[in-house]
Amino acid sequence: MLKTFKKGGIHPPENKLSAKKKIVSLPIPTAVAILISQHLGAPAKILVEKGQVVKTGQLIARGEGFVSGNIHASVSGKVSKIEDIYDVSGYKRQAIFIDTTEDIWAEDIVTDSSVTREIRLNVQEIIDKILSAGIVGLGGATFPAHVKLTVPRGKKAEFLVINGVECEPYLTADHALMLEKGEEIIVGIQLLKLALNVNKAYLGIENNKPDAIACMKKLASAHQGIEVHSLQVKYPQGGEKQLIKAITDREVPSGGLPVDVGVVAFNVGTVFAVYEAVQKNKPLIERVVTISGKHVKNPANFRVRIGTPVSALIDAAGGMPEDTGKIIMGGPMMGKAIVSTDIPVVKGTSGILLMPEVESLRRNMKPCVRCAKCIFVCPMGLEPYLLLSLSQHNNFDRMEMEHIMDCIECGSCSYTCPANRPILDFIRLGKSSVGKIIRTRKKQ
């Protein structure tokens, strides 16, 4: 019996069209727009000026907030302007625009592709390198990695959980990364184990990726304390809390963090970035992005410089299909439709999906019939239909009592609703209001 989480979950069609595709480096675009807010916290502080010449990998904005990360130039060239541009939030945010010239890397970055296995640094040096490389969670939540590695006083990390689940349909970026960069990932896991001072690391992969499981198992067998777990296919297994439950059978308490149950979790993409930062001195300036969709000519996994416009990826994948209804940044379940193809790729972009119009449009909303399907599929054990109506009536106290803040916004409820009710939209709305109320209360 394969492991999985107990509560809820759904099985959307997988549609992993780009699963067998190798990672291809996308040509460096002529101009990039690097957003200064690519992490959870406050925007980074800009260090460059208009007209300044920067090298690839040079620090251009420093993250000063608690959950902020550094931003580096992903290309070399001249800063053409510092202006607002639409980002995935649908609002304009400040970005640094760089016109590309010849690709010259900053001096201390090692550019050869051989695997550096030997670990020479101590714990503090590793964490410092991760901090200065601006590494954030590449699964999508963009939580800075150095904050996760600094375990709060009085708590102890016992396990490291590595997320190779990739439960979102269509996305194959992590899958491709595990097949091609398995050795680097193993070194990355060792670095994180050292930084956290833990003996055990678990790598969870859903069993729809047998090649990745076999490959990682083979590589892991040479090292002590790294176990590869094959998991049942179920969405949202890639959710941090669900994965921890599936592998370690520990439940993160309501309102708590994984470290409360002795676990720290990272995505495989993040682990690879950690390897590059620590062993090769390379900051986070590129990532693997899946571009896919049923009518896309060449669904692919591209290695993309941060700041590349989405349009460049679409062109490289064979252009935009005519019947495209929505362009989604991220996976089809949790991603967001974007309003323009000029939006740049950010650290948290795992995929670009071109959805056909017939599939992407919402269907007509009908009244709730209290079928309770949303309750059965909710992986957090909430009552989505109730939260929807509470949110509609602005009943904030009751929403808080019903643990609305525990919602991980996986969208299983909206996916499964036979009446096509926009459950998640209203829960998000309620969640943001309740979140504000809680923060104000804490301040007082």
Partner: protein, 289 residues
């Protein structure tokens, strides 16, 4: 059989009488004294419980009015000066008169002026749209047109114009309770002083983008050129963040700024049609907003 009924009646009557006596004394003992004026004041209030005064309903306001020493900061916008003077006579205080107000929508980016650049097909609620993204048009400040304000208005003063896609304020029904101001995620409503003959001149735009960007996304956006500032003889107009604002308390309704505005983002309503017709006056959609 007859005796059973008789005993039942007698025993229940005695029980009832004893309970009544006990309840009477308990009520006397634990009586909470409430100022009788609270009830009188509440009877004068409109009983709309709209929360426009800032208190949790009419009873709450009545209580506060009676307990407080003066009328400072206490005003029923729905009842207005009439109700407040009645309340003043009940409480034996001097009445205060405040300017009555009316809600105006500071956006007239209709489909014609502000072309749609994408299509939204999610839940029809302005709050959700603005949490998701900047909206269906290029303007990130304008009206979404999903009518959160229409649903929220307890006086039926707002309705959605299906042609323009913007809400319309019925000035006769608007009580200036301020619910629409609170509920609009784009903060488009403003409570303006009611002027003579319900005449109004206001900047119907909230766009704080630079002129070029604002104009590109909406042909009637305020571009912050400051022309209106220069012609205003009464210092009623201020310009902040590329956006002009006309203070309704200072405006003398001279209409100079209206003809000066290059983008027709300043609107005049309630005036007779001008003799020499400007474009703003001929376009009926604008005049009847």
């Amino acid at each position: 059989m007859g005796t059973v009924i008789l005993y039942t009646i007698i025993s229940l009557s005695i029980l009832g009488a004893v309970a009544a006596i006990v309840l009477y004394f308990v009520a006397q003992r634990f009586k909470v004294f409430e100022d009788p004026r609270i009830e009188l004041v509440e009877a004068e209030l409109p009983a709309a419980n709209c929360g426009g005064c800032g208190y949790a309903g009419c009873h709450n306001l009545a209580e506060t009015l009676v307990k407080s020493e003066s009328f400072d900061g206490l005003f029923c916008p729905v009842g207005g000066n009439e109700v407040m003077s009645k309340i003043a006579s009940i409480l034996g205080r001097e009445s205060i008169t405040l300017d009555t107000k009316v809600a105006v929508l500071r956006c007239h980016g209709t489909c014609e002026f502000r072309p749609h650049v994408n299509k939204y097909d999610g839940a029809s609620s302005c709050a959700i749209v603005s949490a998701l993204y900047s909206g269906e048009t290029g303007c990130t400040y304008g009206c979404h047109g999903f009518g959160d304000c229409v649903t929220a208005c307890s006086f039926g003063a707002l309705s959605m114009d299906t042609y323009t896609g913007l809400p319309v304020v019925d000035e006769q029904k608007c009580t200036a309770c301020g619910t629409c101001v609170k509920v609009c995620p784009k903060n488009l409503f403003e409570l303006r002083k009611r002027l003579k003959g319900d005449k109004k001149i206001y900047v119907a735009c909230r766009n704080e983008d630079k002129g070029g960007i604002a104009r590109k996304n909406c042909s009637v956006a305020c571009i912050g050129c400051g022309k209106c500032l220069k012609v205003c003889a009464y210092d009623a107009i201020t310009l902040n963040n590329n956006l002009a604002f006309i203070d309704s308390f200072k405006c003398k309704l001279c209409r100079k700024c209206v003809s000066e505005c290059p983008t027709q983002s300043i609107i005049e309503t309630g005036f007779p049609v001008r003799k020499e017709k400007t474009q703003a006056a001929t376009d009926e959609n604008i005049v009847t907003v």
